[in-house]
Amino acid sequence: MRLRKGFALMIIAGVLGFQLRVILPRGGGTDWFWPFINYPMYSAAHYAGEAVRPRELRIVPCEPGRPARPVDWHLLRIPKFRYRAVVRTLVSDGPRTLSMPDTAVVARLSRLIREHVPGNYCTAELWGRTFVLPLSAASLDPPWHRIKSWRLATEPAETTGRAP
């Protein structure tokens, strides 16, 4: 009985000790000890006037009249964090962008699209829209605008435009 209790106490102390360590300000802040992790999601403050900017990468078929197709990280077979970094680099509007020139990012993205998306696509486009907080009924559906587009057929890719 004493041995079993001792064993149980060892597990209790180990599990809760580890969990406590990762949530403390000095011991925590790391996910290295997963599944022992801290929970800082949604903890930054935000203010009126800030904007939420969804982005969407689309590819346009070469045949005129056919609709553009949205492309995501899964389709391109790259991790989500890398896809987001690519998009941030293309619009240069956030932290954790890729440390490579714009043209190199475009070239890499073009190669991924050609490799992993079957079909005949000629142009890639990055689209976005902006929601300014607080939202009202009138601001719930802002228009999409094209941020950037480039041709897929040639390599190295060439940038054909950039929206502000």
């Binding site: 209790k5 949530i23 300000p25």
Partner: protein, 452 residues
């Protein structure tokens, strides 16, 4: 000091029902098993992308430069060929199947400890591999820890095939069936795994509250913060309700205060048993609301509230009824042949399925006087030929019809009711029963041969 130690000991090791720990095993293993199977066979789930075998295989195809395993994964992969090795598709296939097979074992309680250990290890490996490519989410972490904790507690001692097999073995060894008693159902070590789960939840919520206060400060309650998250998640996950709510900063301020107050004071759910139920309901509501208006699924965290089953059950438990009320509530009495192995097995099974404790068992060979009093008119010879059940109204059912009447009284047997009441069942059922009953006479140590 001694008093403090006693309180500490009672907090972790006061005898608790084994059934509560077993229920936690079933719910938590069942949740993870569902995620594995649904995520692979139907569609990938945001609650656990790494549970999907397709996703695991997809990960092996992406650029190796992004592979960044954490220690949990490195340790589990050590036998595969070294520190930091990357798993290949065939190995991940094997791990996924191991997770499923051991998960079924852990769910039904077959070789429970071994099954749980394999299930915990396989799921830790799969999910850690899913997060070895810079992406990390929090939904699975606590459940994974709890699977390991459950493996070290007596979570297979109730509501499990292991328990049934062990009781059959004991019954056959002594050729005597003994129904479960309240003492059989509690154990000194049934409480601590659930307590660990409770305190893990306290620490996780505390971490969330402290992060908000540390990173956002009082500005986190300005209303605009929550509206920002409602809008950004509402857009990302396609939640119109979240977008709509983001237009009400004052409401968002109130919700922010309520959320942080809930998270920061969650320890009260553990320390003050009377508050467990409101906190459990509040927590489940919180996670369902987040899913409805923002999108992130917290299926595993919601399932984890099962660790409060004891506190909630005792809070909701009705006062013990008076003896006459207890009698009225309806007891079913089973008269069986206690010298027949198949009858002992059946009695153990029925006892295990009797979750509401409504069955009484009378061994006709040892307690015939009691049986004769309970079922006037029933002869010893008739009782030896088939099992008899006396329902709460005093009606006596024999053989197949005894089973059929019991199926109504035992909720785990309700799924069999359509079959038992199907057309022709009343004709075929008794024949099948008699066939089995004749066979059991062959294997049994009968009344006559045992010379009792």
């Amino acid at each position: 000091m001694g008093r403090l130690m006693r309180r500490f000991d009672a907090h972790w090791f006061a005898p608790a029902p084994l059934g509560e720990l077993a229920a936690a095993r079933i719910v938590l293993v069942g949740t993870q098993l569902f995620l594995l199977l649904y995520g692979t066979l139907v569609a990938s789930l945001r609650a656990c992308p790494a549970c999907s075998l397709d996703y695991q295989l997809w990960l092996t195809g992406i650029d190796a430069s992004t592979y960044l395993p954490r220690p949990a994964l490195k340790v589990l992969l050590l036998p595969l060929g070294g520190w930091g090795v990357r798993p290949d598709p065939m190995f991940l296939h094997a791990v996924w199947w191991t997770a499923v097979v051991s998960g079924i074992g852990a769910f039904v309680g077959m070789y429970t400890r071994l099954s749980l250990l394999c299930f915990a290890a396989a799921n830790t490996l799969l999910i850690a591999h899913g997060y070895a490519y810079h992406e990390l989410h929090h939904t699975e972490a606590l459940l994974i820890i709890m699977l390991w904790v459950l493996a070290f507690g007596p979570s297979g001692r109730a509501l499990s095939l292991d328990d049934i097999r062990s009781r059959i073995r004991i019954g056959l060894a002594g050729m005597q069936f003994r129904a479960r008693t309240p003492e059989d159902e509690i154990d000194t070590f049934a409480r601590w795994p659930l307590r660990v789960g409770q305190w893990l939840m306290v620490l996780a919520y505390l971490s969330a509250a402290l992060s908000k206060l540390r990173n956002g400060g009082l500005d986190w309650f300005n209303g605009e913060t929550l509206t920002y998250y409602l809008a950004s998640d509402g857009l990302a996950y396609g939640r119109p309700l979240g977008l709509w709510l983001s237009g009400f900063p004052t409401l968002a301020t109130l919700l922010s205060i309520a959320t942080v107050a809930f998270e920061a004071t969650f320890a009260l759910a553990v320390l003050v048993p009377a508050l467990a139920l409101p906190y459990v309901l509040g927590g489940v509501l919180l996670h369902l609301s987040i899913f409805a208006v923002q999108g992130p699924p917290f299926l595993q965290t919601t399932a984890l509230y099962i660790v409060f089953i004891g506190a909630v059950r005792r809070r909701r438990a009705a006062p013990e009824p008076a003896p006459e009320a207890r009698a009225r509530r309806g007891r079913w009495t089973i008269v069986f042949d206690g010298l027949c192995p198949i009858c002992i097995r059946t009695a153990v099974l029925l006892d295990a399925l009797d979750l509401r404790r409504r069955l009484d068992f009378i061994d006709l060979e040892r307690e015939w006087t009691t049986a004769a009093l309970e079922a006037p008119g029933l002869t010893l010879e008739e009782a030896r030929h088939a099992m008899h059940v006396i329902d709460p109204a005093g009606g006596i059912h024999r053989g197949f019809f005894a089973f059929r009447s019991l199926a109504r009284a035992l909720p785990p047997l309700w799924p069999a009711l359509p079959l038992l009441y199907a057309p022709l069942a009343a004709r075929i059922g008794p024949k099948l029963y008699d066939r089995v009953a004749r066979r059991r006479r062959g294997e049994a140590c009968s009344y006559a041969t045992c010379g009792v």
